[in-house]
């Protein structure tokens, strides 16, 4: 640590001499990064702009960079019907219940692995690691959910197959292992049992990593569509992503989306509006959540 502060002092003095002229590479970097930033955001912007553009303009041009003829028709149609509410309810249920279950199971299992208990932790590490190497694949999972567990058309069919991500288990393990041993030992001396240590000491100390892991799970659940496609056939129970997928696959079903009153539904604009509504929560949460994701990624990447 002391070495670091020393070098930073050195860098201050030397950067004074190096500062005046921006070098070509620095300029190129600003340009390159800006271009990639644009590349990242333009598709998103086109969706948002398109969702506010009149259907007639869209039908003619197919897209819009700027809503030349502003229209809220699609949003009115979406919010007019109950389909969107149902979709949101489904997605919210899957995301909230799923994240809660995932977080509990992951934190508990990770803690037991991180505890380095003889004859428990080691086998558990292998146990949780093997699925990262070998998986049964789609067919056995499909048979398991439909034939054995009979979860068709249940939101739990979307939640359960993704309940634990081995990667996140090991991110949690690496965090838990950094907790100061002394606190745990003193708790032990004070007579706290393992459960009490976990719930009253470890969990409160681990809020940052729980936030990281929870966010990863939440985004995964929010974006999940393929498991829903496999197991949910009742349109009443479609989560948002599946509604959207259905809208791409089958334009005519778009007519069923808004309330029956919207006879000439702005189908294309509707699709874009529904997309905006679907990624809306992620867009809103993103600025606050982004640094947690970065933290989780780097923790998993460097300390696993």
């Amino acid at each position: 640590m002391s070495a670091l502060t020393r070098t930073s002092r050195v860098s201050n003095t030397s950067s004074k001499t190096a500062k005046p002229k921006p070098e070509p590479f620095t300029v190129a970097s600003y340009i390159g990064v800006s271009l990639f930033g644009l590349f990242s955001l333009i598709p998103l912007w086109m969706i948002i702009a398109g969702s506010f553009t009149k259907e007639s303009v869209l039908a003619q041009k197919g897209y819009s960079f700027f809503p030349s003829e502003f229209s809220l028709e699609a949003y009115q149609a979406i919010f007019g019907g109950t389909a969107l509410l149902k979709g949101y309810a489904a997605t919210l249920f899957i995301t909230i219940v799923g994240t809660a279950l995932s977080l509990c199971a992951t934190a508990a299992l990770s803690w037991v692995i991180a505890r380095r208990m003889p004859r428990i932790s080691r086998p558990l590490t292998v146990f949780a690691y093997l699925p990262m190497l070998f998986s049964g694949g789609l067919v056995p999972l499909y048979l398991l959910v439909t034939q054995v567990l009979n979860l068709q058309n249940s939101w739990f069919a979307v939640i359960l197959p993704h309940m634990m991500a081995p990667f996140l288990v090991f991110v949690a393990v690496s965090f838990f292992r950094q907790l100061p041993e002394e606190i745990l030992d003193s708790a032990k001396v004070d007579g706290a049992g393992e459960l009490r240590i976990f719930f009253q000491i470890v969990l409160p100390l681990s809020k940052p990593i729980l936030a990281v892991i929870g966010l990863f799970y939440a985004v995964a659940y929010w974006n999940e569509w393929f498991t829903a496609l496999l197991f949910i056939s009742d349109p009443e129970k479609y989560p948002l992503q599946l509604m959207l997928q259905n809208l791409i696959a089958n334009v005519t079903s778009a007519a069923q989306l808004p309330s029956a009153s919207a006879a000439a539904a702005p189908i294309y604009q509707l699709r874009l509006a529904l997309t905006v509504v679907t990624i809306g929560p992620i867009l809103l949460a993103y600025p606050f959540a982004q640094r947690y994701f970065v933290k989780g990624l780097t923790l998993g990447a460097t300390k696993g």
Partner: protein, 347 residues
């Protein structure tokens, strides 16, 4: 091992005889070697209670892994059976390697295996290169706010779902009713011929690669940027004293020092090379048969044959084939990576 345990037992007796003073002792002892064995080696009754509690904590996770990871592995026996839903997994008759023969005879095997490999190589190379380049360039930025904003913008696509990506692509490539789209209008400006993207399989490996760069470039750059910040400042000081330009330092210091990270990501990527990116590809291509010749990968093939044909045996056989080759590749990759670097074990 045994001796170590014995000495720890001794420590423990010291602790228990004089608890208040002993707390300091344990603190010192644990820095040298974590004294967890104390938990099971202590008074027998207490130890048993502790591990029971821990097993209780782990139980939901253990059960989940058994049901959703290990049971499906056992379920792969379907690959060797003439499966029928009414008879169930264990009641269906065995049919040896018939399912595999059927898959090979269908003639689809070379196409989907080649597609999987080609697409994954393209994805891996492109996203690694983009991530590396972005990280090096981001590292050059000094304007704090600009840097943070750009980082957020670049990382954002990672959170966009495959379905939304496919809608974005439609806006760009086909427009409302397959007439135009933004890219075709752009081509029009330069007097280039219009392309009917969704009926033309040729460009799709490249389109998907661009999508992948869009999606994963920021993610990769985060990992590389973390590696860059761990490069000791002294190295750059030395470079600066020697009068190296920033370009020179990026090329001769940053890039070489990122090699281990790149190697690890590469090795792990190669390990996963047999698994297609099912979600994105299926969301984009869907059941558009005209594009299958260049975009159909093992996972999409498996999914489609399961849904449309409902032939569980053959589908499971393909899945098993994929799992085994995938397992070999991943295990090899992990072994190589373990040997290569102790710093990173799981990514």
């Amino acid at each position: 091992m045994r001796r170590g345990v014995a000495t720890r037992d001794n420590d423990l007796t010291v602790d228990t005889t004089q608890p208040p003073a002993g707390t300091v002792m344990t603190g010192v002892a644990t820095i040298k070697d974590p004294g967890q064995p104390a938990k099971t080696r202590g008074p027998a009754r207490k130890a048993g209670k502790g591990s029971w509690a821990l097993l209780l904590l782990a139980a939901p996770g253990i059960i989940w892994f058994f049901v959703f990871s290990y049971a499906p592995m056992a379920g792969l026996v379907v690959a060797f059976k003439n499966f029928s839903v009414s008879k169930g997994i264990f009641g269906s008759p065995w049919n040896g390697l018939d399912n595999f023969k059927y898959f090979i005879a269908s003639g689809d095997a070379p196409r989907i295996v080649t597609n999987t490999l080609v697409l994954n190589v393209l994805f891996l190379a492109a996203s690694l290169a983009a991530g590396l380049l972005l990280a090096v360039m981001l590292n050059e930025l000094r304007a704090r706010f600009f840097k943070r904003f750009m980082q957020s913008a670049i990382f954002f696509p990672y959170f966009v779902s495959p379905i939304v990506i496919s809608i974005m692509l439609q806006v760009l490539l086909s427009g409302a009713q397959g007439n135009g789209g933004a890219v075709n209008d752009m081509l029009g400006i330069f007097n280039l011929p219009q392309v009917s993207w969704y009926t033309e399989p040729g460009p799709w490996p490249w389109i998907l690669t661009i999508v992948k760069v869009w999606q994963m470039g920021g993610y990769m750059s985060v990992i590389f940027l973390a590696a860059i910040t761990s490069i000791p400042e002294e190295v750059y000081e030395a470079g600066m004293l020697d009068g190296a330009s920033r370009t020179k330092m990026a090329v001769s210091i940053t890039l070489p020092l990122l090699r281990p990270t790149a190697a690890i990501l590469l090795v792990l990527g190669v390990g996963r090379i047999f698994y297609g990116d099912f979600g994105t590809i299926y969301a984009i291509v869907g059941d558009n048969g005209t594009l299958f010749s260049t975009t159909d990968v093992i996972d999409t093939y498996v999914f489609r044959s399961l849904r449309t044909i409902g032939d569980f045996g053959t589908t499971a056989a393909i899945g098993l084939f994929q799992s085994i080759v995938g397992f070999i590749l991943i295990t090899a990759a992990v072994l190589v990576q373990r040997k290569y670097s102790k710093e990173t074990t799981i990514l």
